[in-house]
Amino acid sequence: MKKKELLFFIICVSSSVIALLISISIGTTKINIINIIKNIFNNFTVDEIDLYIIKSIRIPRALCAMLCGGILSVSGLCFQTVFKNPLADSYVLGISSGASFSVSLGLLLGLSINSVYSLPVIAFTGSLATSFLLFFNGKKNINSMLLFGIAINFFLSACTSLFIFLGKKQVQFVIYWTMGSLSSSSYLKAAIFTILSVFILLFLLRRNKKMDLLLLNETTAFSLGINANKERLLLLIVSSLTTSVIVAYCGVIGFIGLMCPHITRKFLGPKHKPLIICSFPLGALILQISDIISRIVIPNSELPIGIITSIIGAPIFFSLLLKRKSTIYD
């Protein structure tokens, strides 16, 4: 790793750890950070109720925020590579909407999707179907793919709204779900996200050079020894899988997958190895900050996290686009 990449990584990871501690300390019941740190080394500095809140609610939530952010960020990077477009993201491309669509349809049809496993399977089916639709359209003309994705996004969102309207109570929870929430975080979900994080990081790091080649002309990629179509499909399946699991458990959280790889690329360039390593902790950091804000902005209440990520993400994104000429990487 180059010095610059190492510095970026260290800043993101350390900020993420600080954000984790702040996230654990902040909420309706405020718990002193120093006490939390002391508690890590000595079990008796925090009282029992606080300890219960920390262990049962805040630690799993902070862990889920951290891991979800990282996964969404690297999945976004994957989409951007597959479609050779820095604006590609599961949210923009309608892949998240595909998951919402299938879940709301499932609910409307009376399927039982309350289990930890059936919800991601149904969400995955929807997002994968959307991904294939996009891929086979984008293969012919990759430039029209983004517009096609936006159209799919509108269509599926409209269908989801229709199902919510028709399904009334049994589909109502989809409304909250489409805005994203980490309130139902648990250790089980944190464990699932950990497995998913390890899987996607190892998977992407193994093929970081192939991902670099995918940014070149299609025929050049083939001549350099990769079957570009197969690689794209594989990356699309994996990123859809990881995105759909996140969408299934935490709802639709926009902008992380778009913003984090973009920021990382601005500082470190387009090579995938540092991008994968550094955009994960950046995503973790930004989603944790968003989660903290969502919990403190309205006293004794909580805003859906998707609203916060979009409110934070859009101005950062605009400012990056406006500064485009003054930065070294495009």
Binding site: K84, D212, N217, E218, T220, I226, G269
Partner: protein
């Protein structure tokens, strides 16, 4: 030593009921510098796509150094073929050096280092520049350096000098000539027939998905052949420097 670098036997290709290539057969000898010419849409790029396995044929109709291309794994292809396309760059800004290093990704048996490739193409001044900050001619030089670094037996170029100024056109063709002198087999899709006459000893002329003529360039690029393929009038003459030159006249397109 195997003399045939590429052998194509009865290759046919069609897209949505339109036949692009009709049973074409030709060979390219090892160490030759061959131009592929013909009107737009005649199937030149399609042949290249078959050679890099972007398109696949079920029959055994393509051989690289006597080996059926279907028997060559995609990951082993970079040892045989390197490729440079037209305006082959992307909106993501790699540095020139990073781009050239990518040649190594495909062929880890390459004996040419990144610095050597940079020297061969003479672009040390561009080494640390970003691809999106240099001119189209310089990008094309960087792409050729990447292909040099890949050190494949055959180098294929698809319209490498289109849209370039005369300086870069000549520079690129001189580099290709020098590489060919070092026994690299070069296949180059070109539209500028005068460039073909000057630099490419062999030429493959395509018409309507068929091979119209194949052989030594001065035999292939005769005015009647050009007139037949491109539907334009021209004459050929020798310049004061002894160079064959085509002049086009009275053409109402």
């Amino acid at each position: 030593m195997i003399s045939q670098a590429i052998k194509i036997n009865n290759l046919t290709c069609s897209y949505s009921n339109k036949i692009i290539l009709k049973n074409i057969s030709f060979t390219v000898e090892n160490g030759n510098f061959t131009a592929i010419c013909g009107p737009n849409g005649v199937g030149k790029t399609t042949i290249i796509k078959y050679l890099v396995k972007e398109l696949n044929t079920k029959s055994s109709s393509i051989f690289l150094f006597d080996k059926d291309i279907n028997q060559i794994k995609q990951k082993d292809l970079p040892k045989y073929i390197s490729y440079v396309g037209q305006n082959d760059f992307n909106k993501y800004s790699f540095t020139v050096k990073e781009l050239i290093e990518m040649g190594k990704y495909g062929n880890n048996e390459s004996k040419i280092s990144t610095d050597e490739a940079i020297q061969i193409v003479d672009i040390s001044h561009l080494k640390n520049k970003f691809i999106n900050s240099i001119s189209s001619g310089e990008i094309q030089l960087a792409q050729i350096a990447r292909a040099v670094c890949q050190d494949a037996k055959i180098m294929i170029l698809d319209e490498p000098i289109s849209n370039l100024d005369p300086y870069h056109q000549i520079k690129i063709m001189e580099i290709l000539r020098a590489l060919n002198k070092n026994n690299k087999t070069i296949i180059c899709v070109l539209h500028d027939l005068n460039i073909v006459l000057k630099y490419c000893p062999y030429c493959l002329l395509l018409k309507n998905g068929n091979i119209f003529k194949n052989g030594k360039t001065e035999d292939v690029l005769k005015p009647n052949n050009i007139s037949n393929v491109y539907n334009i009038n021209c004459e050929i003459f020798k310049t004061n420097h002894g160079q064959l030159q085509l002049a086009f006249y009275n053409n109402q397109c």
